[in-house]
């Protein structure tokens, strides 16, 4: 087991290097440089100023030298400073937004699980019933509705007409003057709409997946056996069928680990949430290489770790895999 883990971790290193090399090349292939945004089409800028700025950022060196320098810094976990005018360390910029994005994604994933799994089971146990068809319509409506549109409608309803919930942002203006209990309540209020809306879109996938798994498991011989033994339907479904149907969901969970740091630009813009989606989008648009690379490396590491985690938990859950 330990050897297996060690081997897996070791193979991740060349994989990661390959990913960074490709990412680095691709992002530099995109036309434009980080200095363009501040300098181009600005009447007050002369050619000398442009060259001066490019030297400051080390952009005058050949690409492989730039990559090597970047890699050397990465080896000591230095992601460098952002090329944006604030010039702050990339890790700081990502770090201050990471908790926000992870919180929203975790909450939304928990909500999806809490709703989609029972929904999937219920649909699978009554296939093609009215309930099954109604939930199908419901989750697909959620899947199809454009987030920004639904978000705006709910903001108008709950924020403006009913005045129940705040419209956007993470905290109220008077947050600092509130007591600790009210501060927590204030945060909860601000999170309700974003979490609800991001979960609504994800319901379809998970509940359909759960339904399909469950249907397949129910058709298996051992379920027939369990029923033949005279077990109660509740025990058959929740004890024997559910456990097996949940197995593939673990893979799915492992694969969604990198998704935890992924934020949606549109979603974050609408709700004025300072999350990672906006940060990386702006990073790409302004060709902020260190920031984009920092985000890609963290994403790549999380993807690889997520895969590993999924494999490991598989081994724990399924004895057949453990034997090898």
């Amino acid at each position: 087991m330990f050897f297996y883990l060690f081997k897996r971790l070791l193979t991740m290193i060349p994989l990661l290097l390959g990913i960074t090399l490709i990412s680095f090349t691709v992002i530099h292939l995109a036309p434009g440089k980080p200095t363009d945004l501040a300098l181009d089409l600005n009447p007050a800028v002369t050619k000398e100023v442009k060259e001066k700025m490019e030297r400051l950022y080390g952009l005058d060196k050949p690409l492989h030298v730039q990559y090597w320098n970047w890699l050397k810094r990465l080896a000591v976990l230095d992601f460098g400073n952002s090329f944006a005018t604030d010039g702050r360390p990339v890790l700081d910029k990502i770090g201050e937004r990471l908790p926000i994005t992870i919180t929203i994604n975790l909450l939304s994933m928990a909500l999806i699980m809490a709703v989609a799994i029972p929904l999937g089971i219920a649909s699978a146990t009554r296939p093609h019933s009215l309930f099954d068809q109604a939930t199908t319509v419901f989750v697909f409506v959620g899947f199809a509705i454009p987030t920004f549109w639904l978000a705006l409608l709910l903001m108008i309803l709950f924020g403006l007409e009913l005045n129940w919930l705040p419209i956007s942002g993470l905290t109220s203006y008077n947050y600092d003057q509130l007591g600790p209990f009210m501060q927590a309540w204030d945060r909860v209020q601000h999170l309700i709409l974003p979490v609800l809306i991001s979960a609504f879109g994800g319901l379809a996938g998970m509940s359909r997946y759960m339904r399909a798994n469950m249907l397949e498991v129910i058709r298996q011989d051992y379920i027939t056996t369990a029923r033949a033994k005279g077990l109660k339907e509740r025990v058959v479904i929740y004890k024997h069928a559910l456990r097996n149907a949940l197995m593939p969901v673990i893979t799915l969970l492992g694969l969604s680990v990198p998704g935890l740091i992924g934020g949606s630009v549109i979603f974050e813009s609408i709700f004025a949430i300072p999350g990672l989606g906006q940060l990386f989008y702006q990073g790409v648009m302004s060709r902020d290489y260190p920031l984009v690379m920092g985000g890609l490396v963290i994403g790549a590491v999380l993807t690889l770790l997520g895969n590993l985690l999924a494999d490991l938990s598989y081994a724990i859950v399924d004895p057949r895999i453990r034997v090898k």
Partner: protein
């Protein structure tokens, strides 16, 4: 009112919503009652705050380094220049009480205000002015704004309150360069500017002191009680980051922000209710920018000025302004802001005249010989692509309207919207385009050197259309080297005549700025400079104050 009675005056969208959510039994109410009316004259009072909505977070709060709008909004309140612009955009004293310009126009001597203190209590002196000059022109300072101060030959401190700069040659823009913020020497000297804490916690001499910054969310400024022009009335100035303009508008209606810039559509269609007008005041004045259709003059399609004139007559500017700006703008006539001293009022916008357009194109040899609806000459059709940047719907709509009008006179146009950075690198800087729709922000001083002088036609230069006219070059340089406004004006009037005749750009429109401010805030006095110039005089009468702070 309960949920069973319908809400009067709700637009269909909201009724739909209410129906959709029938299961929610609840009362329908206005989010915030309109402020009570005050009778009699209003007394200025200290207190309250203004919350301003902005679409992007600030980046760096050291002046000259952050070049985005939000950073400038903050540094503009935290720092001061030696001079400033008054309501009519004329230069007036600020940190400098007075100044003299020598006979030959080469030397400016500033006499500084005494007793001004930085927000940390240190006195402000001429050393700070000298340092600002050194700071901006230092090759290690990553600033795009060094060019104007690079014209200074020597800068010297005569005594703690006298500062003198000497130029290599007379430079008409010299005073405008000193509109720039003065930075504190005692905090920035000998410091690596890219690591200075001032980028996140600025210290200046201005009306507001920096208080807090929540990254990506808000920046809060607190009044400076010792401000040399008098303490501002509003206790706090808050900038709230809301990237989406629809959300920002909802926040405005909910009362959580007090000020924002409206889109023409919001201004015309969504802000006319009685309730809205009671709670907010809308303003409308000409913005300092213009939109144009520029032709790459190296391309042989556009080398004949009759072609450019003809195309210009084929454009209906009023129609574009109505369609794209809901009427909130006016036709542009040249590269200067209408109503300012440099802009020649005798030059009228090019008229919409399709017959004249066809005639001019025919004179240039473009006729539809093969009857396919597209003009041609020597077997080449008059067809080209207009490039513009992606994500700017006003520019794209303008392009589409122009495309339709050009089609009517037999000119075939394709439109291509390209991501900003790629547009600049692949098309504009390499001068690899046929025509482009872009805009210029008009600088405070009208000097058109950077955009129109022929020395700026090299790759990456701003004269990317490749305009070259010896008389224009001469006029621009002569206006640049005199302080005599009448002489500059004469040169610029002639310059506009030439550009108007040659039409290297088809000037399109100057949009209106459409800000809205909560009506509890008094003391706003719209002027050619906009509304923000007298912010320290804005106030909320005692009985209308919304936010309260411990002193």
């Amino acid at each position: 009112m309960n949920s069973n009675t319908s809400c009067p005056g709700l637009p269909p969208l909201k009724i739909l919503l209410v129906v959709l959510c029938l299961f929610l039994a609840t009362a329908c109410q206005d989010t915030e009652p309109p402020p009570p009316q005050i009778s009699g004259p209003v007394e200025p009072a200290y207190g309250d705050a203004i919350v301003s909505g902005t679409i992007g977070d600030a980046s760096n709060l050291i002046p000259y380094i952050g070049s985005d709008v939000s950073s400038s909004e903050v540094t503009g309140l935290v720092f001061d220049g030696l001079v400033k612009l008054d309501k009519n955009l004329e230069i007036e004293p600020n940190l400098a009480e007075s100044w003299e310009i020598s006979e030959d126009g080469l030397t400016i001597t500033f006499h500084l205000r005494q007793g001004v203190k930085w927000h940390d209590g240190e006195p402000f002196t001429a050393q700070d002015c000298l340092f600002t000059y050194q700071f901006v022109t230092d090759p290690d300072t990553p600033t795009p704004y060094a060019a104007d101060l690079m014209q200074v030959e020597t800068a010297q401190v005569l005594d703690p309150y006298t500062f003198r700069v000497k130029y290599k040659r007379p430079f008409s823009r010299a005073l405008y360069a000193w509109l720039g913020d003065i930075v504190p020497r005692h905090l920035l000297e000998g410091v690596n500017v890219r690591e200075s804490p001032l980028a996140r916690r600025p210290i200046g001499t201005g009306p507001y002191k920096f208080e807090t910054w929540k990254a990506g969310s808000s920046i809060q400024l607190k009044y400076n009680p010792d401000y040399f022009r008098g303490r501002p009335y509003l206790d706090r100035y808050v900038i709230k980051v809301i990237p989406d303009s629809a959300t920002m508008f909802l926040e405005l209606k909910a009362g959580s922000i007090d000020q924002m810039g409206l889109s023409p559509l919001q201004y015309a269609r969504q802000t006319d209710s009685k309730e809205f007008k009671a709670r907010f005041n809308k303003y409308c004045y000409l913005a300092s920018s213009y939109l144009y259709l520029g032709y790459n003059l190296r391309n042989r399609l556009f080398q004949d000025k009759r072609v450019r004139q003809g195309l210009s007559h084929a454009i209906n500017r009023e129609e574009i302004i109505d369609g794209v700006l809901m009427g909130y703008g006016r036709p542009a006539t040249g590269g200067f802001k209408p109503g300012t001293w440099a802009c020649d009022p005798n030059i009228k916008p090019v008229t919409f005249d399709q017959d004249k357009a066809r005639e001019l194109l025919a004179q240039a040899g473009w006729k539809d010989t093969d009857q396919d609806g597209v003009l041609d000459k020597d077997g080449i059709p008059l067809a080209f692509t207009i490039v513009t940047n992606q994500g700017n719907s006003q520019r794209l709509k303008t392009a589409i309207i122009i495309q339709e009008r050009f089609k009517e006179v037999g000119v075939k146009v394709k439109i291509r919207a390209v991501e900003w950075s790629a547009l600049l690198k692949e098309f504009i800087d390499k001068q690899n385009f046929e025509a482009t729709i872009m805009g210029w922000t008009l600088p405070l001083d009208p000097d058109p050197f950077a955009v129109w002088h022929s020395s700026k036609t090299e790759p990456g230069g701003l004269n990317f259309i490749g305009y070259h006219n010896e008389e224009v070059d001469r006029l621009i340089l002569s206006a640049r080297e005199t302080f005599d406004q009448e002489k500059r004006k004469a040169a610029y009037y002639r310059f506009q005549e030439i550009i108007h005749e040659e039409q290297p750009y088809n000037f399109l429109y100057v949009p209106d700025a459409l800000p809205v401010v909560a009506s509890r805030i008094h003391g706003i006095d719209p002027a050619p400079a906009g509304i923000g110039y007298n912010l320290i005089k804005w106030f909320v009468p005692k009985q209308l104050q919304k936010y309260h702070y411990q002193p």
